[in-house]
């Protein structure tokens, strides 16, 4: 876990509000949801929150990759969190192949920008160690491999995702090609 970094740089979580009190070591997380599940991403890793538009699909690409999009003059690879977690596409887009994602989180890894396509973005939460729990062992392995920990919130649970693991998949066809 990263050390507390209350005034994280590069966080431009548009429309997100910060709450929570400065009590001991806390971490900030941008919350996103996919279906009913709430996920958290370390705020230091989040560069942007935006509405993806004009996604160009990439033929022959791994299923996780939705396509490429133009984010202020940069070409960004958009990846679906749903597909990454092995979930079906959202109901309104399951019929056609053209995905119409609602929100995306800009993440950076090894100098490359990725857009993580999610169903929606929630607020920024400041969470301490007191609510943190280890990942339950009975979770689906795909979830387990991507999650760092779980936080107990009021009435719901927050699964903290490991950004590096999230972006760390190898192209499925690479071995065969």
């Amino acid at each position: 876990m990263q050390a507390a970094n209350a005034n994280a740089t590069g966080a431009q979580a548009n429309g997100a509000t910060t709450n929570g009190v400065e009590t001991g070591a806390t971490d900030d997380f941008v919350t996103v949801f996919v279906g009913e599940t709430l996920f958290g991403l370390a705020i230091e890793r989040v560069h942007d929150v935006f509405v993806p538009s004009g996604v160009t699909p990439v033929p022959l690409a791994p299923a996780e990759i939705v396509g490429l999009l133009n984010l202020r003059g940069r070409v960004v690879t958009a990846m679906s969190l749903r597909r990454r977690l092995g979930l079906p596409d959202a109901p309104d887009e399951a019929d056609g192949s053209k995905a119409n994602p609602k929100m995306a989180i800009g993440l950076e890894q090894a100098g490359e920008t990725f857009a993580l396509v999610v169903d929606g973005v929630g607020e920024v939460l400041k969470l301490g160690a007191d609510s943190r729990e280890a990942v339950p062992i009975n979770l689906d392995p795909r979830f387990r491999n991507l999650a760092i920990c779980v936080h107990r919130l009021d009435g719901r649970l927050l699964v903290i995702l490991d950004v590096d693991a999230l972006l760390g998949f190898t192209p499925a066809g690479a071995k065969a090609a």
Binding site: L68, V75, E112, P171, A176
Partner: protein, 913 residues
């Protein structure tokens, strides 16, 4: 590592490269004082800086080299041996520098060997009376501080000298320009003393006048003649900028260009805009900025040539040939990215020219040519491209041998080869592994590596061409784009999306419809008649697996005729829009494995489009993947099977004029050996092949190894073992659907088939391998445990071919001819540990089989599966992933299959542990 040290490393590296080249020049022109002085100064700089930075090892070496060079200055003749010694010293210096760069400290070690050799060389001359003296005189010539301040203008001394010589002096003679040098330069050898005294004089005097001017201009010191002032001042006004900074600038400018394009697009739609004028200005400024930044990335091609004089010198010593290297146009500039890519190919080609292009000195003299061979490198701009020529005045390519070899290797038929022009024939040397020399000896010949050269050049959108004249030499012409970052591309639509096709590969556009110009089909493969020639066609949608609208799009659309290397093909697209200068952005690492795309870009309207890689498309066309896809299996299953079971076979005559064949995929090489080299040992025929003994086995009992002339061999190898199959004559290579008609009763034959209308026996390699090596089939490699493998394939041929391969690798093999049979076998035989299945089978496919297994009892559901497939497409990969198929292996890739199996068993073992 501190900045000082890093700067020293960069600089010394450059200096040493220059010294390398200069030294070779000096060896040829030992009286050239200018060169020597330049070398001397550079080595001296290195020495001085080493002392300053506390690098004793480097300093001692540089000092010893300097001492010897000092002796040259004093008139010691520069022999080949002494130059070699200095070159060796330079190599050692480079090694130490490399270590220094890696670790930050000077590596420990002793250079006494070189130092003492250098000292001996310096002393072992008639003038050895003052061994220490020669080392000193140079120091006053150009004391350290002066030299170091001169860094950016390194060449200025050289230039200065040239200017001196060229400038009209008081005398009519060129050499006599400024008196002191005029006296020294030509006479330097016989009058060492006078030289070392007088040499500094002109430099210093020359400095006096311009020094003031220079101080005013740039605040830097330097020497220059009045005529050279501006040039020197310019030289001194350069700064070092890290490549990363430039790359970053380039990226930013690219983005600026894109933004400007977007703005222009918007302005086009809004008529009433008051911002048109400033936008126009922005547009101009951006264009200029782009030009400027592009220029900073430009480097003279001479940087890529720097090492060549040394390479040629070493080769000329090694080969005993006298070779001159002429370089023209070294100042021609090109993008550093391009420069990096062509560096190695150029070196390779120059080596090739020296090694194979030029004849030996004796041959040259006999042919009435000058004894010294010449390799000429030339570079010049031509339109938006740069042209590089590598020419030798050697014997030219042996076109007859290439024709013969091309036929032998099955690259073309005899009739084709006879029809081809010399230029076309010459291009065969770019085929992988093509070597005319290998026909006679096992020594590598011209052609080895030329395919790599070609591939490298083509990856940057370049072209390579050969012109050769027997007895007069060979010229390679390389045309490459100035830059890779911005290319002209054709924007096309295929299906719902737009794509960019780099224009370098596009020859022409043809409109096709259902009428006169229409796409015809041969067994499902689309072709187009274009000026009485057939052009293979691929549809871009089909290629990219978006087949939904496949059939109708082929009725009307455009064919983009493209050429990659010798391959000409048409890419069928639905619509062609326009051309656009696009900024190439690299593909994401997650997508880089897709061979079809070279990158992506943002168009003027802000949309991201993918750039289609013509090389990737060409490969797919050649593999015929697309031709058999989609339509064929939609029509009928049988056609699908036909397309899939095409096999490339090597046909040869073996025994009493009968034709035999073996799958080409099993063959390692074709050889022709001299019969005199065949040895008999213990009743077996053997030949020395690539430094090892290779057993020879006749392909038929009726064949006897010839006693004279040459003998054709088909070489098979497995790991480090090789076997030569003795055949009467190699006939042809055919690619045909294989229908084994009669299962032969002989163990050396699998059966016979009709190939090109001739009854042909298909030989069973498994029969011959044990004849060569008793233990070949015994599976020595994995004696501890025999994994039982179930091999499922509908084709008897493949079952027969793969069974011995798997057995040889140490597996127990059971086979099944269909998915049903496989399931039965699996249920009845609980020992089977791995299933290897063909994925494309008629009826229930391999995928169905695996799906059935996964649904069955837990034991079957957990069995690892390796899929064999003719074409590994993205959807196959995806289906395989869903079905948890451990690995996909191409059908003919025996090595891949074995390693996949080995990997699997390694996994099972580790799981068990």
């Amino acid at each position: 590592m501190d900045d000082l040290l890093r700067e020293f490393l960069t600089e010394s590296g450059e200096h040493l490269d220059t010294v390398d080249a200069e030294l070779v020049r000096f060896e040829q022109d030992p009286n050239n004082e200018t060169i020597l002085r330049n070398i001397f100064r550079l080595v001296h700089t290195i020495k001085g800086t080493c002392g300053f930075l506390g690098l004793p090892r480097l300093e001692a070496l540089a000092h010893a080299a300097e001492t010897l060079m000092g002796r040259f200055r004093d008139g010691l003749p520069a022999t080949s041996a002494s130059v070699t010694l200095i070159l060796l010293t330079l190599d050692r210096l480079k090694e130490i520098l490399a270590d220094l760069e890696a670790t930050g400290t000077e590596p420990s070690g002793s250079d006494d060997d070189l130092i003492s050799a250098l000292e001996r060389m310096a002393e072992g001359t008639p003038e050895a009376s003052q061994p220490a003296a020669p080392a000193r005189p140079p120091e006053p010539v150009l004391p350290d501080p002066v030299v170091r301040e001169l860094k950016p203008g390194e060449v200025s001394l050289d230039d200065l000298e040239a200017a001196f010589l060229a400038a009209p002096g008081p005398d009519e003679s060129d050499f006599a320009a400024p008196p002191p040098v005029a006296a020294a330069a030509p006479v330097s050898a016989p009058a060492p003393k006078a030289d070392s005294q007088s040499a500094p004089a002109p430099v210093e005097t020359a400095e006096v006048e311009p020094a003031r001017a220079e101080k005013a201009e740039g605040g830097t010191e330097g020497e220059a003649t009045p005529g050279e002032t501006t040039a020197a001042a310019k030289n001194n006004q350069t700064i070092r900028v890290s490549v990363d900074t430039l790359e970053h600038l380039m990226t930013m400018v690219s983005e600026l260009v894109l933004t400007r394009n977007q703005l222009l697009e918007i302005a086009r739609r809004h008529e009433d805009s008051s911002y048109k004028v400033p936008l126009q200005r922005l547009s101009h400024v951006t264009a200029e900025l782009q030009d400027g930044v592009m220029k900073t990335r430009m480097q003279p091609i001479g940087n890529a040539w720097q090492k060549l004089p040394r390479v040629v010198r070493d080769l000329s010593a090694e080969l005993g040939k006298q070779i001159d290297l002429v370089m023209v146009g070294a100042e021609t500039e090109l993008d550093r990215q391009v420069l990096e890519v062509i560096k190695d190919p150029l070196t390779h080609m120059v080596r090739n020219s020296a090694d194979h292009g030029l004849e030996s000195t004796a041959d040259r003299v006999a042919a009435g040519k000058p004894a010294r061979g010449t390799i000429r490198l030339a570079a010049y701009h031509e339109g938006g491209t740069i042209t590089i020529e590598i020419a030798d005045d050697g014997k030219g390519l042996n076109l007859a041998a290439i024709r013969q070899k091309a036929v032998q290797r099955g690259l073309a038929s005899q009739a084709d080869v006879d029809r081809m022009t010399d230029a076309q024939v010459a291009k065969f040397i770019f085929d992988a592994g093509f070597s005319t020399a290998a026909a006679v000896t096992s020594v590598s010949g011209r052609g080895v590596g030329m395919d790599v050269v070609k591939t490298n050049i083509e990856t940057i959108g370049g072209l390579i061409d050969i012109a050769t004249t027997a007895g007069r030499g060979t010229t390679f012409t390389i045309k490459i784009p100035l830059t890779l970052a911005i290319v002209a591309a054709l924007i096309v639509r295929a299906g719902e999306h737009r794509f960019a096709l780099p224009q370098v590969a596009v020859l022409e556009l043809v409109r096709v419809d259902a009428g006169a110009q229409r796409v015809e089909r041969i067994n499902g493969a689309p072709v187009l008649r274009l000026r009485e020639r057939l052009l293979p066609i691929v549809s871009l949608t089909g290629l990219l697996g978006q087949n939904a609208a496949g059939t109708e799009t082929e009725q009307a659309g455009f064919v983009v005729v493209a050429q990659v290397g010798r391959e000409r093909f048409g890419i069928l697209v639905d619509e062609v829009f326009h051309t656009e200068e696009i900024v190439v952005k690299p593909m994401s690492v997650k997508l880089r494995h897709i061979p079809m795309f070279a990158g992506n870009t943002i168009l003027g309207d802000g949309a991201v489009v993918l750039i289609v890689d013509p090389n990737g498309v060409a490969r797919q066309v050649a593999q015929g993947v697309q031709g058999s896809g989609g339509h064929a299996d939609a029509d009928d299953d049988e056609a699908n099977e036909v397309a899939d079971s095409k096999t490339t076979l090597l046909v040869f005559k073996g025994g009493q004029g009968s034709f035999k064949a073996v799958p080409l995929s099993l063959v390692t090489r074709l050889e022709e050996i001299e019969c005199a080299k065949v040895e008999q040992l213990g009743g077996r025929a053997l030949i020395q092949y690539r430094g090892r003994l290779m057993p020879l086995v006749p392909a038929d009992p009726a064949i006897t190894i010839k006693s004279e002339g040459t003998q054709a061999l088909v070489v098979f190898s497995d790991g480090d073992r090789a076997m030569g199959l003795v055949v009467d004559e190699i006939v042809d290579i055919v690619e045909e659907r294989l229908d084994i008609e009669i299962a032969a009763d002989r163990s050396d034959l699998i059966g016979s088939a009709v190939l090109r209308g001739r009854a042909t026996d298909i030989i069973n390699i498994a029969h011959f391998l044990p004849l060569a090596y008793d233990d070949w089939a015994r599976g020595l490699k994995r004696p501890e445990q025999l994994t039982k493998v179930l091999l499922v394939d509908d084709s008897a041929f493949f079952r027969d071919m793969l069974t011995p391969v798997l057995k040889a690798a140490g597996y127990q093999v059971v086979t099944a001819a269909s998915a049903e049979a496989a399931l039965n076998t699996l249920q009845s035989d609980p020992v089977i540990e791995v299933v290897v299945t063909d994925l494309e089978m008629p009826g229930r496919s391999g995928f169905d089989l695996v799906a059935a297994m996964r649904r069955a009892e837990p034991r079957l559901a957990a069995l690892p599966v390796i899929g064999l497939t003719g074409a590994i497409g993205a959807d196959a990969v995806e289906r395989a992933r869903i079905l948890a198929i451990a690995d996909l292996v191409a059908k003919f890739d025996r090595a891949g299959l074995i390693s996949a199996l080995a990997e699997l068993s390694a996994e099972t073992v580790s799981k068990a542990a």
